[in-house]
């Protein structure tokens, strides 16, 4: 048979783990970044929220290192 959901949950793909970190582990930084975009979304340009994303990215990298 094909893997059941419980089995699939234990063998998460790296992208799945990454996804979880963006929404739960680093939700505070994600929210800060989102708010920054929201404040400028009529005139978004490259690196408009660079600082916020740097914090978000750092959190994600840290979370991905931990198993």
């Amino acid at each position: 048979m094909h893997p059941s959901t419980s089995q699939a949950a234990t063998t998460l793909t790296p992208l799945r783990r990454f996804a979880t970190h963006t929404t739960t582990t680093c939700s505070v930084q994600a929210s800060a970044y989102g708010k920054c975009i929201l404040a400028t979304y009529t005139d978004v340009r490259k690196d408009a929220c660079k600082e916020e994303f740097a914090k978000f990215g750092a959190c994600l990298r840290e979370a991905m290192k931990r198993k």
Partner: protein
């Protein structure tokens, strides 16, 4: 000259990316090509095979909901058909709802063989026939003037030549035959579209197509009129679905066989861009309970092939009741 030279360069540089795509002849004359039909067929086949079809069945919810709303429009037509042709039937979301009171038989036609044969015949209440063929060349498998009713439930949004397919549908219909369709409208997935655009803009400094261009209701009535249908009915409806986050939405879209198939799409999005899009999606569109909405806009159309038997408006000036007395 120069364009073929650059194409050759591209072919040499990136043979892997082109393996899954159909050869698109840039020099040929024909309908404008927006979608990669070959990639779309592969996506649909794969979606039907994933986990033995289990994933594909879990994500039937949008199609089942729309099929359910479309069957209401079908039973409003007080006729009993010998046969109904379901163009782009997929696994038969609409066909499954047809009852013996409406039709004796349903003919399902789809370009994805795996999806077409996903569900066994006993899931249907009426006799089923399956044709594996490309919806874009309908007239090569269906005789003109042969159908009493043609339906299409959420498949025409991957057709390159929508006006051409509508003309073909009209041709396959008998006079006074009916076409009933449901298509995704232009507001479909606007949340995902805007989130990805903002994320790409801010992270990478540019945007690329991730969500297909889709038709809107005004275009549909024009196109149906142009294809030669009469007594048109077009209406718009929405299906809103809440997801835990953008990631679940994207997984489900893939399992529906609805991944991106726009020609010239990027085959991959950088992780950082996806993370940014997920954050933006939630802040821009998210609900208070933490879930995020996805909108599916549906355009329902009904059109009839002209026939002298159909009711027509009376000549000007033949009215006998004075409206002043009525109002």
């Amino acid at each position: 000259m120069s364009s073929s030279a650059t194409l050759r360069q591209v072919l040499r540089a990136r043979p892997f990316a082109l393996l899954s795509s159909s050869p698109i002849n840039i020099g040929s004359v024909g309908p404008y090509q927006v979608f990669d039909r070959h990639a779309k067929r592969l996506q649909k086949d794969r979606s039907a095979l994933r986990e033995g079809g289990a994933r594909s069945r879990t994500v039937d919810y949008v199609r089942d909901e729309v099929a359910d709303r479309m069957i209401e429009r079908m039973v409003d037509i007080k006729r009993k058909f010998k046969s109904v042709l379901d163009v782009g039937s997929g696994s038969g979301h609409f066909s499954k709802l047809l009852e013996p009171e409406t039709t004796q038989k349903v003919v399902m036609l789809d370009s994805s063989k795996e999806l077409l044969h996903r569900d066994p015949d006993d899931a249907f209440e009426v006799e089923v026939e399956r044709i594996h063929a490309d919806e874009e060349s309908l007239l090569s498998v269906v005789e003109p003037n042969s159908q009493e009713a043609v339906v299409s439930c959420l498949s025409l949004h991957w057709v390159n030549d929508l006006p051409g397919v509508l003309v073909q549908i009209k041709e396959t219909l008998q006079p006074d035959g009916v076409f009933l369709g449901a298509l995704f409208g232009g507001d479909t997935l606007f949340e995902l579209r805007t989130a990805l655009q903002l994320a790409e803009m801010e992270r990478e400094g540019g945007i690329s197509p991730h969500i297909s261009p889709m038709t809107d209701s005004r275009d549909m009535s024009n196109l149906l009129g142009r294809a030669g249908f009469t007594l048109l009915t077009v209406d718009v409806d929405e299906v809103k679905v809440a997801y835990p986050s953008m990631w679940e939405l994207m997984d489900d879209l893939r399992d529906m066989g609805e991944s991106n198939a726009v020609i010239g799409r990027r085959n991959y999005i950088h992780r950082n861009t996806l993370a940014a899009a997920s954050a933006i999606y939630k802040e821009l569109h998210g609900h208070e309970d933490g879930s995020v909405p996805a909108t599916f806009q549906i355009i329902y159309v009904i059109g009839w092939k002209p026939s002298p038997k159909q009711p027509k408006p009376l000549e000007r000036g033949t009215g006998e009741t004075n409206l002043k007395e009525v109002l």
